[in-house]
Assembly symmetry: C2
Homo-oligomer: 341 residues x 2
DNA sequence: TTGAAAGCGCTAACAT
DNA sequence: ATGTTAGCGCTTTCAA
């Protein structure tokens, strides 16, 4: 980093004190006469001065930087979240740091520590696994928005503000499954995530509830990683009686479609398919994939607002008894051809 | 950010000076006796001290933060790059900031400024358009790794180190096209990007060269945005004589396959398809997509090395006459079924 | 309305 | 081997 002009250079150039330069730049906290303001502004332009955000953060005791910590930055669902979040934060003059835990708990912990060192003011967290490492969350200072924290947890004392994205995994799975049933399908299997994961179990629960409500027998539960290859492998475990499959995420669904094609099975004719946590890309698969999607734009906006809103309580060890903050997310069904529509 | 323990607290706890604490933490620059070291380490553990990276950066005059500035974080190719880069930087104890220009030049400029304010030590840049805004690049202090800077540019004086990812767009397009021809296809069209873009023209050039070399007539050039929808629309502009299509990027190819399916055209039977800048997802399209891919892992490693390598020259206005730094990228053909393989 | 100066937490040159 | 202290660039209180 070369020698860049500092606030001192600007002050000198403008013939004022350094404090005044601050007042001008920050529009406060003290007023500055129009004349002086002009001189400062000119000096800034002349010197090509750019404030040093690092120094500012140190003096302020808080940074303009936030972080997104997820399990897989290349997962379309998460990549889209990164994109939306960056947009919103940038619009608010904030920066976004990213971390990819790669589903590794140790790595996740290291990233948390790294973010703390960098004094990030807030963290958006899609945790490695359910149940989440609550101790680490509790100890984390600053605001934490949890993307995959299950509802109905006991409020626990935490070192900072906690906000939960209110996702109902079970309901989303149910919506997708019900749609498959509405097409007259009777044997709906599920490609589930690893069963030790809570979100996986919740999705299974929703799938099952839809089938129970219809008075039908549940189809096979095929467990697979939340990956494309996991979905592909699952396709080869499908019995010939199955006429529909609910996939627990879009990547699995994508692999499933690929696997079905390999087996020479037609979707939706032989097997109808629907998934949850879909993205914009679902519409361009062959056949176009029916998914339940979350309104990422609004969600990202709410998250950014929550992050940058002045912390209501800065203290330590506060219990979130004040009606636990949550961000709403209204899932909607986006139909393609994979379901038979 | 709550009141966290500082180096002073640690020093007090350990009964030493603050300098010694620094020496221990940084393994230098002065030696510390084993006894004292232990006491400091214990004090650190006891207080739960975590160094303040912001303060460290200020004192050092350089940060451990780097930035990735791209046109579309949700583009699989770029998302994969973000992931790989984050991995490599994290392994080196560095942080990664992301910026999404959304193909907007003004936004790109704003992001550049924001990164400068944050004192990022290096920037990885996939620029909005060709030709790149060279003035902004030249003025950028610190190391800049350019992901889509064409080769053979005049060396220009710049404010920091400049590294170019050595991609030969033309060659990659040619590789994909030649592969289509090797399957006996004779009428190869191209879905090209916007023609005002240099990279688009280079890809057209490579496609054309392959066809010329084979002594054939070039097929239709269909211009479309670098998006899935662009590719889909292109499918509807294909004449019945076309027996193969080269798509200029993976998103276009994905849309193209979708569009072909909509039209009832079979790939690869009716039309063979191949693309460049493919990702791991290509293998799971239907049919699996043949692409030319760049070795993202090694590339990310080289970029991280370039970024974190001590700057050979910190000065201002240095011309890169010293054999312009470049990072190699060896494209390889990854075959799927879309080409007829 | 403006200026002087005390920090913010850390590094490292300079003393001891 | 360890301690003292002057910055790094900025914010903001306190004086003027």
């Amino acid at each position: 980093m070369g020698k860049r002009p500092t606030r001192d250079d600007v002050a000198k150039e403008a013939g004022t004190s350094t404090a005044v330069v601050s007042y001008v730049i920050n529009h406060g906290p003290r007023p500055v006469s129009p004349t002086t303001r002009r001189r400062v502004l000119d000096a800034i332009r002349k010197t090509g001065y750019l404030p040093n955000g690092i120094a500012k953060s140190l003096a302020n005791g808080s940074s303009d930087t936030y972080a997104l910590l997820v399990t897989d930055l290349a997962n379309p669902f998460l990549a889209q979240m990164a994109q939306s979040l960056e947009r919103e934060l940038f619009a608010r003059g904030k920066d976004l740091l990213v971390g990819d835990s790669g589903d590794d708990p140790a790595r996740q912990l290291d990233l948390l520590e790294a973010f703390q060192r960098q004094q990030v003011s807030g963290l958006v967290w899609y945790g490695v696994d359910q149940p989440l490492p609550l101790d680490a969350i509790d100890a984390y200072p600053g605001t934490v928005v949890m993307l995959n924290q299950p509802a109905g947890q006991e409020p626990r004392p935490s070192a900072g503000r906690r906000v939960r994205l209110d996702v109902d995994e079970s309901r989303e799975a149910r919506m997708a499954t019900e749609h498959l049933l509405s097409h007259g399908r009777r044997h709906v299997a599920i490609v589930a995530g690893p069963t030790q994961r809570l979100n996986s179990r919740e999705r299974i629960h929703g799938w099952r509830a839809a089938i129970d409500d219809a008075g039908l027998e549940p189809g096979r539960i095929i467990t697979a990683p939340y990956t494309r290859e996991g979905g592909r492998q699952a396709a080869f475990q499908l019995g010939s009686d199955v006429d529909a499959v609910f996939a627990s995420n879009e990547m699995q669904a994508m692999g499933l479609l690929a696997g079905l094609a390999e087996r020479g099975m037609k979707a939706p004719d032989d097997v109808a398919v629907a998934a949850m946590n879909g993205t914009a890309g679902a519409a361009y698969l062959v056949p176009s994939l029916t998914t339940v999607q979350l309104p990422q734009g609004p969600i990202a906006r709410d998250i950014a607002n929550a992050l940058t809103r002045n912390e209501p309580s800065g203290g330590t060890g506060r219990t979130g008894r004040t009606g636990e903050e949550a961000i709403a997310s209204a899932p909607r069904l986006v139909t393609g051809h994979s379901c038979g529509c």
